[in-house]
């Protein structure tokens, strides 16, 4: 047995019919009359010979592929730094598979390499693209959208694109409100960035919310980390030097929050009695830190599912009134911020 592709031509010969009929039978096309008998015979021969359609030939003939692309725009070293992307992939694959589509994952370091995206689309490698990355994306890809390529952007609020975003503004507000509600007035935060628009935007939300509570924000209370525990740890060491020492800390992701918690413990301070901590993401380990971490849960795999459904609608030309899909976050109250059971 050698590696050899079975073609419709071969099936046709074996079944004693034309290649045309084989194609029609295999695709259940009823536009052209075709007796039930021969259809069955063709199908039998096909499965007997182990026929599998050649994806390339099919795409070429139809001028359409059933692969969709997921393009991640962010510095290489932090693509999978947090489980956000894996969660999105889970959701994407789940619905794509059900609809007979495949997922191609690509990654570009920054907005200078965007040509990959237009190559994939123009080259017919993918029928559509789901984009995740920094803001600015909507400007860079505007021409592609204009020309009619199906593109769905994650976590952008641009009116130009179809987007599926998580309502982080509200997520941030719910966390801050929770802290304020527990009486905290000196709130510090470890944020990421400020290297991209997404981060800046979230930071803006934080400032706004604090301002709405009439809390002046000392810039020294806002530190920056790089998504990982280490940077949260270092940032917290800086914050702990401040006078007056903040009574509450908002870590903009759980990774940095857990790093901060370690720094706090090392100085002998108690959580939440001396410093309350709240995180963001609700990662799997969040319920098992010591103390358990109060955090904000974002529906990430659901975002993947929604994005898949939206890109498929665009590809199949269905009407999409819901150009902007917004998903809500949820505050998960545990022990690290007080105000609830362990």
């Amino acid at each position: 047995m050698k590696k050899h592709t079975v073609t419709q031509k071969q099936i046709a010969k074996r079944a004693g019919v034309s290649q045309t009929l084989v194609s029609l039978a295999l695709n259940n096309s009823y536009d052209v009359a075709l007796s039930e008998e021969t259809r069955q015979r063709v199908l039998d021969v096909a499965s007997e010979m182990g026929y599998v359609p050649q994806a390339a030939a099919r795409s070429l003939a139809q001028g359409h592929t059933n692969t969709i692309g997921l393009v991640l725009v962010r510095p290489h070293h932090q693509v999978f730094r947090d489980p956000y992307i894996p969660n999105v992939i889970t959701g994407l694959v789940e619905v794509l598979r059900r609809r007979g589509y495949r997922l191609m994952v690509e990654h570009i370091d920054d907005l200078n390499n965007v040509q990959v995206v237009s190559d994939m689309l123009k080259g017919g490698e993918v029928a559509g693209v789901v984009l995740s990355g920094e803001t600015g994306v909507e400007r860079v890809f505007a021409h592609l959208v204009e020309v009619g390529y199906p593109i769905v952007v994650l976590n952008e609020s641009s009116a130009l694109n179809h987007t599926v975003r998580i309502d982080h503004a509200n997520g941030i507000r719910s966390a801050v409100d929770h802290m304020i509600g527990l009486g905290h007035r000196h709130v510090a935060a470890i944020h990421y960035g400020p290297d991209n628009d997404q981060a800046d935007w979230r930071l803006g939300n934080l400032h706004q919310t604090l301002a709405s509570h009439n809390i002046a924000v000392d810039p020294a209370y806002i530190r920056f980390g790089e998504y990982d525990p280490e940077s949260g740890y270092r940032a917290m060491q800086g914050i702990l030097q401040l006078n007056p020492r903040p009574t509450a800390l908002f870590g903009m992701n759980d990774m940095m929050a857990i790093g901060a918690m370690r720094a706090i413990h090392e100085t002998g301070l108690r959580i939440p009695q001396d410093i309350a901590v709240i995180g963001y993401d609700d990662m799997r380990f969040a319920a098992f830190t010591n103390p358990s971490l109060t955090t904000v849960r974002a529906p990430e795999s659901e975002q993947g599912r929604q994005a898949a459904m939206m890109i498929l609608k665009l590809i199949e030309g269905q009407p999409t009134h819901d150009v902007q899909t917004v998903l809500s976050t949820k505050l998960i109250v545990r022990a690290s911020c007080g105000g609830a059971a362990s």
Copy 2:
């Protein structure tokens, strides 16, 4: 401007040459003579018109695609439960991109749906496949390998396949040796499975290592979890009832270990003084638990890189003497098991 694909034919017309020359010029083929002048002119016209080769047509003509597939074989709900796969993907994409290949991610629940793999290969969707999943894989795909399809399997030791595996046997041994070396004789473990061969195999390693230290293993000391902190937490609650209470715990992944640590803390016991804990994986948060987690680091993204290089060798027909690539683990000593600084 409409969405319209630029073809070599159009370029040929505009440049006043035949389509053949366009193809030759674009592919830097020197088999056929071609004046430097016209080559340049063709390239200029091509870039001016924004030419992008049609992937489908190219694949069809060449009988070869530059997409490789990553197929994950495991129950749906635990595909991305741990960051193992994301780490592997990082490594894969890193080298594939450099070599001009794309990555297609597919997922199948169990070994009953393996047809997807043969479809992808026979249908020419992918030039090769990297497989990750339960043991048994090598048997199921034996016929595909025989026929000559390039397949690389992760973490299998079958002689039938090309594999890239992490030396977990040694990883387990290093952890156990560490505990024994610190004087522990009553060692408990929270393992995963026993639903698949991979898990069983690792469990066998654990037993072996303990036996080599002349430590009898009370079956009650071995509990099973399901990869996540919750299950580690529950398993540990059971273990804490035992008499005599073990003095050391080996969590077969960091997630379950962190869950177990919580259970230990809740009973008022101290780590590592009362119970020493050791994990497996060295996830990002491991250095920031309280106390920091002694664990075994597995070179996961390196495994992805190696797998990519191997599948490319297979595809390009290069000789591969290294049918079995083995990567080493490393014991990371922190505080949760004693024997080192905080």
